[in-house]
């Protein structure tokens, strides 16, 4: 058989636990002086090209209670729809960010730029989207989801990933609500009637 030369099993995942902030956002968790800046805490600066957007939201458990110990990682293309591959395409946008949910309210806020449409395969594009990866106590394998934009109706309708969601009505769980002035709201439900679509991708 040609093909894979797979020799090893992946290391199994374990929960990030309730104290993930110590390792991932130490300064925000009160550990000063080890790193000069929390990794991923600043996605954009003055030189970053693209339309500024703010995404706010919250993660909820199966009883619709806000999860206050989660960390969310952000991975997205730049305003032209390109991922910085091999080396950072410029010093102003790495495509990656990391935010903690508020330890009292569970609310999170991401300040970034609107991503461009990303390649899918030859001739097809994916609608502009942001990959989100959620870890917390009680999450045994990091949860991978995507945020799409409510004001991209046409692109969303033709998106090759959204179109595979069955039942199609669940695709709505991935559409961030447009609050105007570049602000979007995205609720993530880990469980229940409004459970967000998560990917094995």
């Amino acid at each position: 058989m040609t093909g894979s030369e797979i020799k090893l099993q992946e290391s199994p995942s374990q929960t990030a636990g309730p104290y993930v902030h110590i390792g991932c956002l130490p300064i925000a968790s009160g550990i000063e002086g080890v790193y000069s800046e929390d990794p991923g805490s600043r996605m954009i600066n003055e030189a970053t090209k693209g339309e500024r957007i703010k995404i706010e939201g919250c993660v909820y458990d199966g009883e619709a209670v806000a999860v206050t110990d989660a960390i969310i990682e952000v991975w997205q293309a730049d305003s032209m729809g390109n991922y910085p591959v091999e080396k950072p395409s410029n010093d102003t946008f790495s495509g990656w960010g990391r935010v903690a949910c508020n330890q009292d309210s569970g609310e999170f806020e991401i300040e970034t730029i609107r991503p461009g449409a990303v390649a899918f395969d030859e001739g097809r594009l994916q609608a502009p989207h942001i990959t989100l990866w959620i870890v917390a106590r009680g999450i045994n394998v990091g949860l991978h989801t995507r945020l799409y934009f409510a004001d991209e109706d046409l692109a969303n309708a033709n998106d090759p990933v959204l179109s595979q969601i069955d039942p199609a009505s669940r695709a709505q769980t991935l559409i961030a609500e447009n609050r105007g002035a570049g602000c979007y709201r995205f609720e993530i439900y880990l469980q229940g009637d409004r459970e967000t679509v998560f990917f094995d991708i």
Partner: protein, 242 residues
């Protein structure tokens, strides 16, 4: 340049299930709908790149990176090292490895932590490094202590170090925990045993590495990590004459 092949799907029977009944916190935080399985797209086949300029001189040294100058964290001094590879065995160079852990008394430096064990003024509990050109990483730290946690009436976590791995693509993103060979608490812990197969659990247990131990200084533990691999490496291998 030809496109690299997509990543292999995760073996979900090898990883813990989202809902592990003995681990209480997973009850309300586990999706109940099936994950949507799809081949990776360009969005998952790329990933963030971290440069050497990110890493400070003491970032890998938890004995000293939070300590007052001239002082050191309290506890057994240990060296933790290993290699990060993908499933085809290919080393993953220059990839970010982040760790966090409790101090030697089993106490985390965190606002929400309430265990009575003492804080160590010289121990923060975080560290990071980039793997070298052969995928090797290396940390210096204290042996973390086991600690009680509110799961059952008398639940104790085995000593462990949390690891966060990036690899070269977001598809490979992984957070896991490293345990220590010989710790009897490993097999009592519902977080550990959320992993269904014994062989998978054993792959998270660091082994004593006497060859790397620094005499009169610190014991070494070896912990190798495997991240997702690509579906086909055949052409790469053929190019090497296989």
């Amino acid at each position: 340049m030809t496109a690299k092949p997509p990543f292999l799907p995760r073996d979900r029977n090898w990883h813990p299930p989202a809902f592990a009944p003995a681990y209480n916190s997973s009850r309300l935080r586990s999706p109940r709908q099936a994950l949507l399985s799809l081949p990776t797209t360009p969005s998952e086949e790329a990933g963030p790149v971290f440069g050497h300029s990110l890493i400070g001189q003491l970032d890998h040294d938890l004995l000293h990176n939070y300590a007052t100058a001239g002082e050191s964290a309290i506890g057994p001094r240990i060296l933790v090292h290993g290699q990060v590879r993908d499933q085809s065995g290919r080393p993953l160079p220059h990839t970010l490895v982040e760790i966090w852990q409790a101090n030697s008394g089993g106490r985390y430096r965190h606002q929400k932590e309430s265990y009575i064990a003492a804080l160590d003024a010289n121990f923060g509990g975080c560290g990071r490094c980039l793997t070298d050109s052969e995928g090797h990483y290396r940390f210096i730290t204290v042996q973390p202590g086991p600690y009680p946690w509110p799961n059952g009436p008398n639940s104790w976590r085995p000593a462990h170090i949390h690891f966060s791995l990036f690899g070269e693509a977001f598809a490979q993103r992984l957070i896991t925990q490293m345990y220590f060979e010989g710790d009897p608490l490993i097999w009592e812990c519902p977080i550990v045993t959320s992993i269904p197969q014994r062989e998978a659990i054993e792959s998270l247990i660091a082994t004593l590495d006497l060859a790397e131990t620094l005499p009169m200084d610190m014991i070494a533990w070896r912990f190798d990590i495997t991240l997702r691999g690509r579906a086909q490496t055949w052409f790469e291998n053929r190019a090497e004459g296989l």
